[in-house]
C-alpha cells in the first residue's frame, strides 16, 4: 500500500499543500486535475525523486520520506516509473528497457535480461525492436518502450505520468488497456496521472482530483461521477461553464 500524509512542497511557491491519500494494494488509482495542479510533483515525491518540506510517504508500511539515495535504491527496486517525456536514453531500445535491471539487480545474468527484454517487447507489440534507436520511433512506440522499462522489474508499484499525452485516441486506448492488463497480470499497485479523463477512468478503480496543490476529491470512479463538488463535476464532464 502507498500512503501519503499531509505532504507540503514548495518551489518558491507552494506546489503541494497538505496532500494525503492512500492507494490500496492492487488498486489502479487515477490522479486527475488541470495543469499545474501538482499531479506530477506528487508522483515524483512518492518515488523519492523530490523531498517534501513536511509530511510523510509510506510504502509497504515503511516510511521512506527522507531516505538517502542508498536506501532509496532499495525502495526503487519496488517501483517502476513511466515518465511524461519518455525519458529514454540515447541507447538502443533493448539497453533502455534493460537499464533498471542491470543497475538495480546485479545478480541477473545477461541471458535472462535479454529474454525479459524480448518478452516485454513482445508484450508491447514491438517484437524485434531491441537494436532500434528510440529517436527513430513514433510517440506511441516510445510510450510503449517506456511502459516496457517501467514494468520489466515486475515491481509491485508502478507510477505512470501522463501515459497518453500527445497520442492519438486509438494509441491512447491501447496504452490504457496495456496499463490495466499489466496491473492485473502482475498484481501491481498502480498510480496513473493523466488529463485524459475518459480513458483513464475506464481502467481506474479509484480516483483522486488535485487542484492548486490539494487533493480535493478521493473516491471510486462512480463516486467521482456522482460528486456534487462543482470542480470535480465540471472537470470530469469537460464542461466550459463552472468554477474552473
Amino acid at each position: 500500500m502507498i500512503k501519503v500524509h499531509d505532504i507540503h512542497l514548495s518551489f518558491k511557491k507552494p506546489v503541494l499543500r497538505g496532500v494525503s491519500l492512500e492507494v490500496p494494494h492492487e488498486c489502479i488509482y487515477a490522479v486527475i486535475g488541470p495543469g499545474a495542479a501538482g499531479k506530477s510533483v506528487l508522483l515524483k515525491t512518492i518515488a523519492g525523486l523530490l523531498t517534501p518540506d513536511t509530511g510523510q510517504v509510506w510504502i509497504d508500511g515503511e516510511e521512506v520520506t527522507f531516505h538517502d539515495e542508498l536506501k532509496l535504491a532499495e525502495l526503487r527496486k519496488k517501483i517502476g516509473y513511466l515518465f511524461q517525456n519518455y525519458a529514454l536514453f540515447d541507447k538502443s531500445v533493448g539497453d533502455n528497457i534493460a537499464f533498471p535491471l542491470r543497475r538495480l539487480f546485479g545478480n541477473i545474468g545477461e541471458d535472462e535480461i535479454k529474454e525479459r527484454v524480448a518478452e516485454r517487447l513482445m508484450r508491447m507489440s514491438l517484437p524485434g525492436f531491441e537494436d532500434r534507436n528510440p529517436n527513430s520511433l513514433s510517440g506511441g512506440q516510445k510510450k510503449r518502450i517506456g511502459v516496457a522499462r517501467a514494468t520489466i522489474m515486475r515491481a509491485p508499484y508502478i507510477l505512470y505520468d501522463e501515459p497518453t499525452a500527445g497520442l492519438d485516441p486509438v494509441t491512447s486506448q491501447r496504452i490504457c488497456n496495456l496499463i490495466r492488463d499489466e496491473a492485473r497480470e502482475q498484481r501491481s499497485t498502480v498510480i496513473v496521472v493523466s488529463s485524459d479523463i475518459q480513458r483513464l477512468l475506464s481502467i481506474a478503480d479509484r480516483v483522486g482530483m488535485m487542484l492548486h496543490g490539494q487533493l480535493i476529491f478521493d473516491g471510486t470512479v462512480d463516486e467521482a461521477f456522482a460528486s456534487a463538488n462543482p470542480y470535480v463535476h465540471q472537470f470530469i464532464r469537460g464542461e466550459t461553464e463552472g468554477p474552473l
Binding site: A73, R76, A87
Partner: protein, 272 residues
Amino acid sequence: MTTATAESQASEPDDLDDVEESQLEFYAREIKDLVGVFSRTLYYCVRGKREKGDIAAQMYAIGNGSMFFMCVTMAFIGAIVAYQMGLQTKKIIPDMSLLGATFLKLQVRDLIASVGAMPLATRVGAGIAAEIGSMVVTEQTDALRMSAADPVDFLVVPRFIASVIMGTVVLCVGGGVGIFSGMLVAMVSFDVNPNTFLNFSMLTSGDVILGLLKMVTYGGTIAIVSSQRGLRTFGGSEGVGIATTEAVVGSLFGIIVWQFILSAIGYVLLPA
C-alpha cells in the same frame, strides 16, 4: 496608488542589507553546490560503476570536436603575441636573439593554458551544459535516479575525466601550433631564424609543470562548472539556454580565478 503597485512595493526589501544578504546566500549556495558536485565526482571517479566506453566516447567528443578550433585559435594567438613582442623588443633593444626564448617561456608557463582554455570553455562547456540540461528537462536524470544511477556518476564523471585528459592534450597540440605560427611570424616580420627562435634556454621544468598543472585544472573546472549548471537546469528549452550561457560565463570566471591562484602559487613554489 493601484493595488498592483502597492503589492509590488510591499514585496520589495526594506533596505539594501536584505538584497546583499540574499546575494550572499545565492553565491554561498552556488559554491556549496559546486563543491558538492566536485566531491561527488572525485568519489565516483574511484567508486563509480559507469558503463563501458562512456569515457572514451566523451574523450572523442571533446578532443575531436575541439582540436581544429583550438589549433586555428592558438595559431592566431601565437602569431599576434610573437608580433607584439617583436614590435616592443624592436623599440627598446633591437636585438631579436632572445625573442623566441621569452616567447616560449610566456607561452608554456601561461598563455597556452590560460588563453587556450577560454575557447575550450566556450566549445566544451557549452556542449556539456546543453547536453546535461536537455537530459534534465526531458527527465532522463530522474530516470537515471529511479535506476539507482547517480547522474554525477553517470554523466559528470565521464565528462570530467575526458575534459581533464583531452583538455590537456588539445591545449598541448594547440600550444604547439601557436609556437609554430609565432615562429613563422618572427621569421617573416623580424628575420629571426627558426633555430634562433626555438631557444629553450629560458624554459625550466617549473614552467612546464606549472603550464601542465593549469591545463589539468582548467579542463576539470570547465567540466565541473558546466555539469553543475546543466544539472541545475530548470524549465524547458529556455532553461537549457540559460544553463548553457551560465556554464560558459562560470567556466571563464573559474579559469580566471584559478589563473590568479595558480600563478601566485607558481611564483612562490616554481619561480620564473
